[in-house]
């Protein structure tokens, strides 16, 4: 049995007894079969023998339970790692960084506290998945759309505060967040924005309140446990058009991005547009060495068969004439600069029947689709999701730089997938494949991904979100003014979490007691 660092077995036994006193015997998990369910099945660290093993998992049912668990962790200085549904695949799943951490499993906190059709928002707990909210909206017959990633079993709160991606008009998920309740590491409960006004009716309607806007501190956070969050919803539009544009040549990504940028920034294309090379992406392959192509179209040898061009997925929402006009304008813009574009589109009108929609269309309409689940080969590799200027020329430089780098390792990089959920920037995925069992393979891949981080840093590309085992390497790119931002984050960490119990090492931010020896 793994135990938390610095504790004796008898101390840990005492702590477990206290956890059981807080959440009940049934909700403290310590036996191997249970612990196994809290391990990332696609971690590159498994084959390396470096995957952190939890000492226990604890699942409180309410805010008081969260406070109680944090009190025990403070008393015994036990590191805790927060999961909501534990589906953060590719970025670490349910895994902690520190061996022997206790997993704080929030799945039992699964209440939908409010859905407001008139004001188009919901207030949810962390255990509520995209699917849970969607099905409840259908059950109540409300004319509201959700938004979110594929597949829809991830937590609304966790995906949002990890600054994840949706594919509809609210695809920049963190922008749709409005108001939080947070249990701080020390156990105090804080509500942000208008939630701090005791009798306010606008907690989910106005984000900012008065004074510094602190919600950002609790995104990608190791400062507290978000126990409630407001999420804006989208009023069901009268019409919706799902569209794809195909360009035939590899080099066409340059004009493609330059066409997309002004349309995206000006909201002519209002959804979280995405693009990928036809040479592969995570849906076609995964991160495995033999299971097709890993994300970013990095074939292990030469170019794979198939058309070499690119496609992008777009969505338009609103009145029928508006969605038609904006789609026609988009086609004109593409056709005027790229030869032999192909356009595919389907228009739907309310009331919508999900059974008659293409899987791709459902994604852009926030309708849970589970078609893609078995195609998602999470593999055992490392992703690197870089923030790159939204410019054809700049992206081409990125692509060629990484391809040249990959060639040194006998691999290629053909680019993509690209996310345009944040309309002024590109999120460009690269990465390396990994193996579930081959230690040597993963050692070589790790060497490559570490060097890729150095290359990215030299070129000014930072990651928007980092896989668990590359968080410190990812944060190292944020080095302006002798890493002033990291030091600022460390000061906040030490002030709000003085015992350093919450998610030590998350995004390269370590508490004072563990900073010694960290790069």
């Amino acid at each position: 049995m793994t135990i938390p660092p610095g504790l004796s077995q008898s101390q840990f036994d005492d702590a477990l007894a206290e956890f059981r006193g807080v959440v009940g015997n049934d909700w403290v998990f310590t036996i191997e079969e249970h612990i196994e369910m809290y391990r990332d099945t696609s971690s590159p660290l498994t084959a390396l023998g470096e995957q952190a093993i939890p000492s226990a998992a604890v699942a409180p049912e309410n805010v008081e339970g969260v406070q109680g668990v944090l009190r025990v962790c403070n008393d015994y200085r036990i590191p805790i790692w927060i999961i909501s549904t534990g589906k953060n695949y590719t970025y670490g799943g349910p895994d902690a960084i520190v061996n022997g951490s206790v997993i704080l499993d929030l799945k039992r906190m699964n209440r939908i506290l409010e859905i407001n059709e008139e004001q188009a928002y919901a207030l949810v707990e962390p255990g509520v998945s995209q699917y849970d909210l969607w099905i409840e909206i259908q059950r109540r017959g409300m004319k509201l759309w959700i938004d979110g990633p594929s597949p829809a079993y991830s937590s609304i709160i966790a995906n949002t505060i990890e600054r994840g991606v949706g594919y509809g008009p609210l695809g920049e998920r963190i922008n749709a967040q409005c108001g939080m309740e947070v249990v701080l590491a020390t156990g105090e409960v804080v509500r942000t924005g208008m939630g701090a006004v005791a009798n306010s009716e606008t907690w989910q309607q106005y984000k900012y309140g008065l004074g510094p806007w602190v919600d950002g501190l609790f995104s990608q956070t190791s400062l507290g446990v978000v126990t409630k969050m407001g999420i804006w919803l989208y009023p069901e539009p009268p019409a919706f058009r799902s569209a794809e544009v195909y360009v035939p040549n590899h080099e066409d990504i340059v004009p493609m991005l330059d066409v997309l940028r002004p349309l995206r920034i000006s909201n002519v294309i209002p959804n979280s547009a995405s693009a990928s090379t036809n040479r592969g992406g995570p849906v076609e392959g995964g991160f495995g060495p033999g299971g097709g192509m890993p994300p970013g179209g990095m074939a292990p040898g030469g170019p794979p068969p198939g058309p070499p061009g690119w496609r992008c997925r777009l969505g338009y929402y609103g009145y029928e004439r508006v969605v038609d006009t904006n789609w026609e304008q988009t086609q004109d813009e593409f056709a005027s600069v790229i030869d032999n574009c192909q356009f595919v589109s389907e228009r739907y009108t309310a009331p919508y029947n999900p059974d008659e929609m293409l899987s791709e269309s459902k994604l852009a309409a926030g309708i849970p689709s589970f078609q893609e689940i078995p195609l998602w080969n999470h593999g055992n590799g490392w992703a690197a999701s870089m923030v790159v200027p939204f410019s054809g020329r700049k992206y081409w430089e990125f692509l060629e730089t990484i391809d040249a780098f990959n060639r040194q390792f006998g691999r290629r990089y053909f680019g993509g997938p690209l996310h345009m959920h944040s309309p002024h920037a590109l999120i460009a995925l690269a990465g390396v494949p990994g193996s579930a069992t081959d230690r040597d393979f993963n050692e070589r891949s790790r060497e490559q991904i570490v060097q890729l981080h150095q290359l990215a840093r030299e070129n000014g590309w930072g990651e928007y979100r980092a896989p668990l085992s590359m968080m410190s390497e990812a944060m190292a790119a944020y080095d302006w003014n002798d890493a002033a931002l990291l030091r600022f984050n460390e000061r906040i960490k030490d002030a709000l979490d003085p015992n350093g119990i919450i998610a030590p090492g998350k995004n390269g931010i370590w508490p004072a007691r563990m900073r010694e020896g960290q790069a």
Binding site: T41, R108, F370, E372, P374
Partner: protein, 114 residues
């Protein structure tokens, strides 16, 4: 071995749940849990990832829709739900409780030959 230890560990749960509910009630409860937690991927119709995968894997030798199968054993269902299998990650006790899993097992084995 892991499956066996699961089974012995939870035999008592099965007994208590079955005795308290009656088999028909257990099947009905299992159907409800299944519809909420499994059907979106394993149900009939298009765009169901689990059903598509099983159709490909078994090429019609058994139904692709789980609820139509008659050869699923409790041990197998438990193992697939609780441990990692290709295309499906473990479903934890906080997602589907032991009691709900026993009910799902009762539902999915309701047509099995005795």
């Amino acid at each position: 071995m892991r499956i066996l230890s699961w089974l012995s560990g939870f035999a008592a749960v099965v007994f208590v749940v079955s005795a308290a509910l009656g088999q028909d009630d257990l099947v009905a409860q299992g159907r409800e849990v299944y519809m909420g937690r499994c059907e979106y991927c394993h149900g009939p119709g298009p765009q169901k990832g689990g059903t598509m995968t099983l159709q490909l894997r078994y090429q019609g030798a058994v139904p692709g829709v789980l609820a139509e199968r008659t050869n699923l054993t409790p041990e197998y269902i438990r193992a697939v739900v609780r441990t990692a299998t290709p295309g499906m990650t473990p479903i934890r006790i906080t997602e589907v409780s032991e009691q709900d899993l026993e009910a799902v097992i009762a539902y999915l084995t309701r047509y099995n030959e005795p």
